[in-house]
Amino acid sequence: MRILRAIFTHPSGRIGGTIVGLYLVVAILGALGFTPHDPLMQFRIDRLQAPDAVHWMGTDLFGRDVASRLMVGISQSFVVAFASVALAASAGVVLGLAAAWSGKGWDGLIMRIMDVLLAFPAILLALLIIAVVGPGTWTSVMAIAIVYTPIFTRVVRGPALSLKTRDFVDAARTFGSSRYYILTRHLMLNLVAPLTVQVTLALAWALLTEAGLSFLGLGTQPPASSLGLMLSDSRNLMEMAPWLLVFPGLAIMIGILGFNLLGDALRDILDPKTRRVAA
């Protein structure tokens, strides 16, 4: 509760938190099917209909309701973003703690593998993974997770290395605490702050990457809806039907903005040293 109060007293946190909260509601409604219309229903008479009282955001080339597709698209993007960041964070925590705790040999091996993954520009690594597995929603999840695992590993390993040498860890060892207990209770709890910030910012990147992959036709496949896919479809029609570009474009931008603002606010709240840098 204290952290929620802190977020809502921080100017960026208030705006970011509200945006993320609203998007979560829309995503859940979209996933549960509470949309104004069936997102796959083709209203053939209303093809490329401008926004009106029936179709709030207009219709696309097939007469499908843009608002409904947008809601389902947001929920799709959120599923990919949350699943990939959850995977990347879990893998990063395990690898980062293993590297920090095991020392020399394992540390060197794990971190060199992470260096190899970091040697690729993010989108290229994602493309390479998709080339191997084939396009699709879950491939996007896996690709984004692999791309961001090294970042989480680094975020965890650095502080874990310094925490390992602290007196309270020595004390726990002296009292006979198991390795598992020390790792999960003493190290993990102290890593919650940097991880929370990283997770929030990674969600913004994941949304961006998912939209980018879908835009290229390598993420979510039609007829399913995704924000990137909707934008890609708008390319040849934007002069005739600008709403096909404007609404998904704004939806992606505002969503990413929300996570970025929230991430910045969390960084300020949880790590006051970086306050001015984050601003």
Partner: protein, 319 residues
Amino acid sequence: MNYLTRRLVTFPLVMLGVSVLVFISIRLVPGDAITAMLGTEAGLLTPEQRAALEAYFGIDQSWPVQYGRWLLGALKGDLGISVTFGKPVLDVILERFPLTLELALLSMAIALLIGLPAGVFAATRNEKPSDLGVRIFAMIGQSTPNFVVGLLLIYILSVGFGVLPVMGAFTPLFQDPLENLGQLILPALTLGFAFAASVTRIARSAMLDVLSEDYVRTARSKGAPAMSVLWRHALPNALIPVVTLSGVEFGYLLGGAVIVEQIFALPGLGRMVLDAILQRDYALVQGSVLFIALNFMIVNLLVDLAYAMLDPRIRLGDR
């Protein structure tokens, strides 16, 4: 071992790791390489023809032998033959690289020209409305995907001004500089937008840090003119993080701006990789991914070297 020596020592090791990863990834693709190359026509091959083709491409050997051959070839600049283009992979890459390089340089120039003054301006007006305005611009810039910016630019130009942007063509810079600029300015603006936003944010925060340092206060108290304090004392030190950020972003851009090249139909490196993946031209995917990763790593290494030159604490310290 200090940080820089360690970076230089691990560079070839990481590159070797990259080559192994690329090699294995391509071999994990379902289906055999001959079918991938010939598509449905592979079904017409007799077993003898298939065996002959496998021997020709060297894929009848074990993976370690194939890897050794490929790596030796790569070291000599032989990355194989592209099935789509019917010529050496390196030639195809080098044909596309000038565009990608120019686009990256142009985007960086735009980002620095907008971002640096904006960041410095905001820092000097900390917490005032104009600072808030710059910060909002930077936050929106960082949150807008470049494909949204690109599409909006096309829309504004075509609907608002009735001008259709030049797409799909590329004239080399030295052949016709003006035409070349006309072709690249929109994609560069698209890429430069988010890049400028990042530069603005980092320049602002670095300037704020530097402006609160003792030596700046000393310069002010000695009566140095405000502009001199800003440009001579503060800015050079605030540039360190800007150099790092610009270098890293430049490295990313050298890998090809896949999406922006796709939107503007530019024949660059990023779009080539995407097409190679879609057309299953694995020699080209393998070669170009290796080439891009190498570029990316070299740029990052150079950034580290530049950073160490600008900040002796890193050169001497153990990071």
